[in-house]
Amino acid sequence: MPVYDIPFQLDAPHRRCVVGGEPMLFHCHHYNTFLQRTIQQDADFVDSRPFLVGAAAEVAFAQFSSLFARVDAIADRKRLATSLYQWAGLGTFDLTNLDDTGGEVRTENSHYAMAWRAKFGRSNRPVCDFASGWLAGTLAAIYGLSAGSFSVEHRSCSACGDSPTCGFRLTREAPNYTVFNPVGTGALTEHRPQAIPATPVDYDGILEALTGMEIVGDTNGQIPAFGVYLTRHYANYYNRISFEFERNLHALLGAQGIEVASPLLIEAGHVCAFNTFGGIMTSPEWDALIKPSLKTREDWVHGIVAAINALGWGRWQVTTLSETEAEFVIHDDYESTGYLAMYGTSDHPISYLAQGAVAGVMNLVYHGDVASNPEFTAEYYNRLFKTEGSYAANCLTSKAQGDEVTSFRVRRAVAEAALYEAV
């Protein structure tokens, strides 16, 4: 395993990890590719490339501009950037041939290309929009230039099947993507944890154990863990692409645009819960660390909530819990924190990932009996989320709308129309 020296700060009180002023969190390849495909293909009349690439340039530029304040030599800056990319499970890059005019770079290891092929098969278009923007933002920071100093062309992609590598060309000219103003960590609150039902699950011990694990990229820049390929990705990348998708739909369709965007983004949350939480709950790590203390199905919910607190998503709690319904409270959920910093107070709930994820927890434990160690197939997914008795979540409070916390009530859905009702 490579040895890394990443200036990583664990902000345990806020259940966050910050590198160079950018919050970074764990998501798996299923969510990464599903979210991208949702944005690109489920509403393909939205021109998404400018913000998919621009969001990556935004976070990379902000992060490395901060980190490079203490790194002078160009070679050292390139080494730190490639090391961080690999550490985060995003793939590998060699930036030595790039200079302040741009240049070409290729890689055999791109997370998005690998993940796309694994999940969806061959793509009919290049998929490494994240890597494209990351390169443009990083190169500008390496040479101390302003954001948007390079255009980027994704010339070949291994996800398309006609090349074993992904290739990129950077040129010193006007950007061919949107340049956003970075927002960093956003405004965080002082958490006031609420009372939770009695459980033998040791939340603090699990947090300490999981955050103490060495979950980092291997020599190929991959993190195989919990049965999936993890990335320690940029919270503000997910935020920007999700909210720009929603805002573009709103600009095109008015209020209906929100109604189109929200179920699509919540569905991405279901996919995340199904694969990441399902992977965690059937992993040897779960069996070793968490399962020995579980006595009831309610404990299984507490166990996965304890694990979620180590993902960098904010502080998660389940405050009432039975098979009939549950309430989840999230302090500083990363979606709300990012939204407030990017766009100000929202007039509707926007914590789509969290909304899908809390329903996913209940579906896995009660509707899908994840304790029986099922196969994670498409049929199992459909049974969990699309059959009678599936759980769905309603947003009760939203930090993005000005509430102290974001919270959800999760119940078995009684009708399709009620699935995404906001209280």
Binding site: M1, A115, K119, M213, V228, P284, A288, F376
Partner: protein, 114 residues
């Protein structure tokens, strides 16, 4: 003293085999591949009742995870299933090592790919 092996694929089409050992694993399993990178997560020191978890890995070769004191091993081999012979060679080497170290005798079953 049979070891049951259930073969499937992981979500990136790598060959994954779930082994069920006849006896709980001891620390001897950590030495089975001399070239492997070995990580032991001493969860038992952090959480009451928890057990220690291990990973033996080599990039592009294998990722073998299990619990000391438990009978289950989850092993993922190769870069992808397309690696074919190289992957099978590593599997054979691992299973041979399991047998020669007297953890048991491998019996293989096949189940539907993920």
């Amino acid at each position: 003293m049979l070891i049951y092996a259930t073969r499937t694929l992981d979500c990136a089409s790598k060959t994954r085999i779930h082994y069920r050992m006849p006896e709980p694993l001891c620390e001897r399993i950590l030495d089975i591949f001399p070239e492997a990178e070995v990580v032991v997560n001493r969860f038992s020191k952090r959480v009451a009742g928890a057990r220690d978890h291990f990973v033996l890995s080599r990039t592009g070769g294998y990722h073998i995870a299990g619990i000391l004191g438990d009978v289950r091993i989850v092993a993922t081999f190769g870069k992808t299933a397309r690696d074919g012979d190289a992957c099978e060679h590593t599997i054979a080497r691992f299973e041979s090592a399991l047998c020669s170290e007297r953890f048991g005798q491998v019996v293989q079953r096949v189940r539907t790919a993920r």
